[in-house]
């Protein structure tokens, strides 16, 4: 089932409500993500940031309201259409979620082998291309357990990009990394957006990530978008809740 979502709006949340048991995580959330835009979602823990991403890729369905991705209502989309839509998206997991029993090359090649008819030669070419893109060439034969945290994130990012998705969803892409590695991931995300022009949603607690990659930052509070603005405006806002969340880091924008 499809519905109009505005010409350049690729992802739209309309009054989305989601509860887990007694806890209402999303509470009438509205948010638009435009084609080619990178929207960073910030907010305190437990405000439903990751839940938001999982609605976009169809892992969760809203209890009320609608999530539209390129006009497709994710609550009523048919399995075949959902598969086709997911092939247009990449999802970067917080801990990369690489398959531990496969080496890096096989991890990257897996989506292509399973969902396309590409030749092994073409798959190999794409794997090498993406490993170059995320700056981890020559790690094809290594297993995830042999990689550092930063390299695992990069490989996870390369896997998300292997099908050349239109939409990339990042779930805490720099969580658990030291500031230097985190900044290298941030710069990589920005570089990828500039080179590929993908639409992206980034869930993060990392202010550095928001400053580096965002076109717009949405701040979630109590399951709704409390405030949203471009980075400059966001980090200089005098909204009391935002000031409390950002602490002294907000004033450095």
């Amino acid at each position: 089932m499809t519905a109009p979502a505005g010409e350049d709006v690729l992802i739209r949340f309309e009054g989305v409500v989601k509860a887990f048991g007694e806890k209402r995580v999303l509470n009438g959330l509205d948010l638009d993500v435009h084609r080619g835009e990178t929207v960073v979602v910030m907010g305190p823990s437990g405000t439903g940031k990751s839940t938001l991403l999982r609605h976009v890729i169809g892992l969760l369905r809203p209890d009320a309201g609608r999530v539209l991705v390129d006009g497709n209502d994710m609550a009523t989309i048919r399995p075949r259409e959902l598969r086709a839509l997911r092939e247009r998206m990449g999802y970067v997991f917080q801990d990369a979620a690489l398959l531990a029993w496969m080496n890096v090359a096989d991890n990257l090649a897996l989506p292509l082998r399973e969902t396309t008819d590409l030749s092994e030669r073409e798959i190999e070419r794409r794997v090498q291309e993406k490993l170059m893109l995320v700056h981890v060439p020559g790690s094809d034969e290594r297993f995830p357990s042999e990689l550092s945290g930063g390299m695992r994130k990069r490989v996870g990012l390369a896997r998300a990009l292997i099908t050349d998705p239109e939409i990339v969803l990042y779930d805490e892409p720099t969580a658990g990394l030291d500031p230097e590695i985190a900044m290298s991931i941030n710069l990589l995300m920005r570089e990828l957006r500039e080179r590929t022009g993908t639409t992206a949603m980034v869930v993060t607690h990392d202010i550095g990530t928001a400053r580096t990659v965002a076109d717009r930052i949405a701040f979630l509070e109590a399951g709704r978008v409390h405030f949203q603005a471009p980075p400059d405006e966001f980090f200089t806002s005098d909204d009391p809740r935002l000031v409390r969340f950002l602490g002294h880091q907000g004033s450095r924008a």
């Binding site: 890729i57 999802y91 801990d95 979620a97 398959l99 969902t115």
Partner: protein, 258 residues
């Protein structure tokens, strides 16, 4: 009580649905031959020595226990009949199934459970990759095929263990022992002229392997909550596999011999 019954129905329903999905994906078995071959190794060769060891001692125990009683009636020359029928009909398939549930089944559940809690299964889902085809079908097929193969090994080594005890402790000549073994296993059934006691045992083993594979994978797929969740799903996999194997054993025995 009502809740426990509903939970049980839900669990069994999920396992049956998973088994059905595995059945539908068997046509892609050739495409998955590499993964299936690996499962043959995991489910077969890695536990081969355990089956040999346990099978030998089970055969020796059956021979000793029954031989002592038979010798009181001067019937110890029938020991080969009892050991061979016990091993082929019951002990071989059942002991093999228990070994596989405890070793391979637990490992399967822990492996898939770890993948579940590490979001690897979610990653497969968002990449539109069929996890049943990639992960479950090869594992269930591996166990379903290797359980009968290992049961043959267990039957054979158990009968040899019985021979050892018959000769050394019951004074039954080895030639006579094996004559009674062949005589006991000779009667053919309705299937391709094969000895009934052998093919029914192998069929049981096939069912046991399928049951253990399905239950272990089902428990692994539904693991939640970190290391504790993986431990819990492994415990449930072994427990439920053994219970389901015993229940299946009863109904298969009833169907074949009742």
């Amino acid at each position: 009580m009502i809740r426990a019954t509903l939970d049980l129905c839900r669990d069994v329903g999920f396992q049956l649905e998973l088994l059905g999905q595995v059945g539908l994906r068997l046509r892609s078995a050739f495409h998955r031959r590499g993964l299936i071959a690996d499962q043959f190794f995991q489910s077969g060769l890695k536990v081969f020595h355990v089956v040999l060891f346990v099978g030998l001692f089970v055969g020796m125990i059956v021979a000793l226990q029954t031989g002592i009683e038979l010798s009181r009636f001067g019937q110890e020359d029938q020991i080969g009949t009892i050991v061979s029928l016990s091993m082929c009909r019951e002990m071989g398939p059942f002991i093999t199934a228990i070994i596989l549930a405890a070793t391979v089944g637990s490992a399967l559940a822990a492996e898939l459970g770890t993948m579940a809690v590490n979001e690897e299964l979610t990653a497969l889902e968002v990449m539109s990759i069929d996890k049943v085809n990639l992960l479950v079908m090869p594992r269930v097929l591996g166990l379903a095929v290797m359980c009968p193969v290992l049961a043959i090994v267990c039957d054979t080594i158990g009968i040899l263990g019985g021979a050892l005890i018959s000769e050394s402790q019951l004074g039954v000549d080895t030639t006579m022992y094996f004559d009674t073994v062949v005589e006991a296993l000779a009667p053919v059934g309705n299937l391709l002229g094969l000895p009934k006691d052998i093919y029914t045992g192998l069929f049981k083993a096939l069912v046991f392997g399928t049951v253990i594979g399905t239950i272990s994978c089902a428990e692994g797929l539904r693991a939640r909550g970190g290391a504790v969740g993986v431990g819990e799903c492994t415990r449930r996999a072994v427990r439920n596999s053994i219970i389901a194997t015993i229940i299946a054993n009863y109904f298969l025995t009833w169907a074949f011999f009742g």
